[in-house]
Amino acid sequence: MRWATRAGVHVDRAACAWLVRRFIDPDAAFVFVDDADEVPVDATPFDMRGVELSHHEGRCSFETMLRHFALDDPVLWDLARIIHEADLADDRYDVPEAPGVDVICRGLSMVLGDMEVLAVTGPMLDGLYEHRRRALLLGRDPA
């Protein structure tokens, strides 16, 4: 399936793409557009103004996707707190790691193209997921 989002990928879009590939559509192909009008007709748009898989009622697109696809893995929801604060910094959650994730993703988008950003943030998000999974199992931060 084809998925479309805005060019100039930042943390929320990178996390959504990772979620799609890993949990929803392993064969996903991504298209990056500058304007909503450029979304191909066969593509599912996300993290764009006015589409379903986007920000709603103060939630970021990653949180919207978890709800939409009924992904109730608590590790993903824990990860969602980090993505939310890295993207929006609205203090809805207390997540000290979020500003770090934010600057890493901003920096990557300065030196890499969108496809490459997805390639690099994939393993980063795999690692964050594993870290939060172990933290939830242990009830504390893993070593």
Partner: protein, 156 residues
């Protein structure tokens, strides 16, 4: 002549009732550090982040039954741009001054209170820096006041 900045503007109107969304939107605008141009018209220097944040807020306004449009624009003269930047810097300097007052007051508090104040003020500085597009001199004063407090906590 210096290039004038590009600004991103959100023009919005929200229903008077319920008041919940009005308050939420207002709080989020304040956190972003917008300059209020008119009632229902706010501006930020345009970059990828500010534009995106205002776009999400425009969507939030629409979802709350209001109207919201995003505009890109430049001030008509360098003097107007300076005045607007000055206004934003003045607002940030008030926030920085409050940090200085809190940091200095904490110097007279017990060690445990001081530590807690350091943690709070560091986060507060980060929060202000995020909405501070035209850093005033008070930023360095606030940072120095917090640094002094950190030294008092670290050195027994």
């Amino acid at each position: 002549m210096a290039e004038r900045l590009e600004w991103v503007l959100l023009a919005y109107r929200l229903p008077r009732e319920p008041s919940g969304p009005r308050v939420t939107v207002w709080r989020k605008l304040r956190r972003l550090g917008v300059a209020q141009i008119l009632d229902g018209l706010v501006a930020l220097p345009a970059d990828a982040r500010t534009r995106e944040q205002l776009e999400w807020l425009a969507d939030e306004v629409l979802e709350a039954g209001g109207e919201g449009t995003i505009w890109l624009g430049r001030l008509g003269s360098a003097a107007q741009e300076r005045a607007l930047a000055r206004r934003m810097a003045d607002a940030a300097s008030l926030d920085y001054k409050a940090v200085v007052v809190d940091a200095e007051a904490a110097a007279y508090e017990a060690e445990v209170v001081r530590r807690r104040t350091v943690a709070r003020l560091r986060r507060e500085l980060q929060r202000i820096a995020r909405r501070d597009f035209f850093p005033p001199p008070e930023r360095d004063l606030a940072q120095a006041a917090v640094d002094r407090l950190v030294e008092m906590v670290n050195v027994p």
